[in-house]
């Protein structure tokens, strides 16, 4: 489905020095798999997602989507090929209403009932959002859910979710997991790439990749990687966003 070959991304930092945010990443995401990328804050996860969606262009390496070299392709072209990206920080729009955004995402006229279905799937009572604008009046969690709903409506072959759980309350968490599993079951051969710090999301991964300092630090099946992450301070320094398991050491 998706292949990254030695992808790098450098920027000119404020002090005029080259800063390498992604350093020679190789990655292969097979069709039908759910892969979770985790790793410390600032490790380069969102940057990698933006490189996949075409929002940033790599300074080195190549990207392939379903065998086709997409390195030079624009955001729009990649979206049309079947790459979807739910932002870590969703964008607000004055005047664009929630169903309008879902309709744009679907790329075709949608009945109000269809639009409602996508909203209900992410735990929003559709009736309450039909006339709401995607503007500053929405709460952070509402915005995040609408962002996820746009990908549900879009049905991309490859969905990239950047910290979809951020701001979503615990009560709704299980629904979110159901959403990913449902996507996987209903969009044929679709792959899902989730950037997350949450144990419960890591728990549904076929494969886990740990990205650190712009490099793939480790990768492997859930059973191989998860134990190395839990209860150690190694992967997520600082604030302990992964809940320690019973008996696990404190993280901070």
């Amino acid at each position: 489905m998706l292949k990254l070959e030695n992808v790098s991304f450098q920027v000119l930092a404020d002090d005029d020095k080259e800063k390498e945010i992604i350093r020679g990443v190789n990655l292969h995401l097979p069709a039908g798999k759910l892969v979770v990328i985790t790793g410390p804050n600032g490790g380069g996860k969102s940057t990698l997602a933006k490189l996949i969606a075409g929002i940033e262009s790599p300074t080195g390496g190549r990207l392939f989507f379903r065998g086709e070299d997409i390195t030079e392709k624009s955001i729009t072209e990649r979206a049309r090929l079947g790459i979807g990206y739910a932002f870590q920080h969703p964008v607000r729009f004055k005047g664009i209403r929630v169903p309008d955004l879902i309709r744009i995402a679907a790329g075709k006229p949608l009945s109000p009932a269809d639009a409602c279905e996508y909203l209900s799937a992410v735990g929003l009572c559709a009736r309450d959002y039909i006339d709401r604008e995607v503007n500053a009046s929405l709460s952070g969690g509402e915005l995040k859910r609408i962002e996820i709903a746009t990908l549900l409506a879009r049905k991309p072959a490859l969905s990239v979710f950047d910290e979809p759980e951020a701001g979503i309350d615990l009560w709704s968490f299980q629904n979110l997991i159901t959403v990913f599993q449902h996507m996987r079951d209903t969009i044929e051969d679709s792959s899902i790439l989730i950037i997350s710090h949450q144990e419960r999301i890591l728990n549904i991964a076929d494969e886990i990749i740990v990205l650190k300092d712009g490099r793939v630090d480790r990768r492997g099946s859930r059973d191989e990687i998860l134990p190395t992450l839990l209860g150690t301070a190694a992967a997520i320094p600082g604030c302990g966003r992964i809940q320690p398991m019973e008996g696990g050491g404190a993280q901070c």
Binding site: T76, F93, K94
Partner: protein
């Protein structure tokens, strides 16, 4: 009874959403002639005798009725000044739809200057909708210079929706309002200019009575080489609340000047002005592009939403 050609009918749809003769009171002005007029038991429309225009009298207590007074012009080179006076009785609650559509395929300028005065009685409620629209590819300009004067008595409210999205080359709009105690004025202006167009919109609102409130909000988009000036002044002459807001998107070589003006002449006047001018946010474009839109399609969606 209406004798309108296809272009005139299209203009009517654009400016007043009219597909057939409206219900209620109306006057349709086409190329400086009345193409149809109807009064009702409560709303009387009579032509002025000294100048071109109408007197519209709405009886006190009239509820749930509407008045349509659209104007269409299709002859190149027409220039007209029209005076319309609205006398709105106490406690009336009506919708007034004005609007002017100019189609100019000729080389001479077409110009309509509508001078509207509203005398709003005590506790009356008015919703006023005014759309301006131009079409036709002649070199002659489409010019509209509306002047709106609003006099609101105690407890009255006036909601004004002013829209000019397409095709008007030059416009100078002046709106003044004087509010007595407990009167409320809400203005929603939506404006888009393109090409070499120029639009100037000036508001002067005087809050003269206790608890009078005014909320004047303009959303606009300036594209190509167009120029806009938004000049909104609110004077608080009593304990009152006033708010003006200008929120603009600028594109291409467009230019926008926003001139906030607040004048407090009473210690208990609360006045706020907000103005923001900027180009379309890059992350908005990017988000819509990740949903499969081209940059241009994304721009259109953002602007349509912004101006809706």
């Amino acid at each position: 009874m209406l004798k309108l050609d296809e272009i005139q009918k299209r203009l009517l749809r654009e400016v007043a959403d009219l597909h057939t003769v409206p219900e209620g009171a109306y006057n349709i002005r086409s190329n400086s002639q009345s193409a149809g007029r109807q009064s009702t038991a409560n709303i009387e429309i009579t032509p002025k005798t000294d100048v071109s225009g109408l007197d519209i009298r709405i009886k006190p207590g009239t509820k749930n009725e509407s008045v349509h007074i659209p104007v269409v012009m299709t002859e190149s080179g027409l220039k007209e000044i029209v005076y319309n006076d609205f006398y709105i009785g106490d406690d009336a609650d009506v919708v007034i739809v004005a609007g002017c559509g100019i189609d100019n395929c000729g080389t001479a300028d077409s110009q309509h200057d509508g001078i509207h005065r509203f005398f709003v009685g005590k506790n009356a409620h008015i919703k006023y909708v005014e759309k301006h629209y131009g079409s036709g590819d002649g070199a002659g300009k489409r010019i509209l210079n509306p002047v709106t004067e609003v006099y609101q008595e105690e407890g009255s409210s006036m909601e004004m929706e002013m829209v000019q999205i397409k095709g008007v080359d030059d416009t100078e709009r002046v709106t003044t309002a004087e509010l007595a105690a407990d009167a409320r004025l809400v203005v929603r202006e939506r404006l888009m200019t393109h090409g070499e167009q120029r639009a100037i919109s000036t508001y002067a609102v005087a809050l003269n009575g206790k608890n009078a409130t005014a909320d004047v909000v303009s959303r606009s988009v300036a594209r190509d080489h167009s120029y806009q000036k938004f000049d909104a002044k609110i004077a608080g002459n009593a304990p009152c609340r006033g708010h003006t807001e200008c929120d603009s998107i600028i594109m291409d070589e467009g230019r926008i000047l926003a001139v906030p003006g607040l004048e407090a002449n009473d210690r208990d006047a609360m006045l706020v002005h907000e103005a923001a001018i900027g180009k379309i946010a890059g992350d908005q474009l990017i988000k819509l592009m990740t949903l499969g839109l081209t940059e241009q399609e994304a721009e259109e969606q953002i602007i349509n939403g912004f101006l809706q």
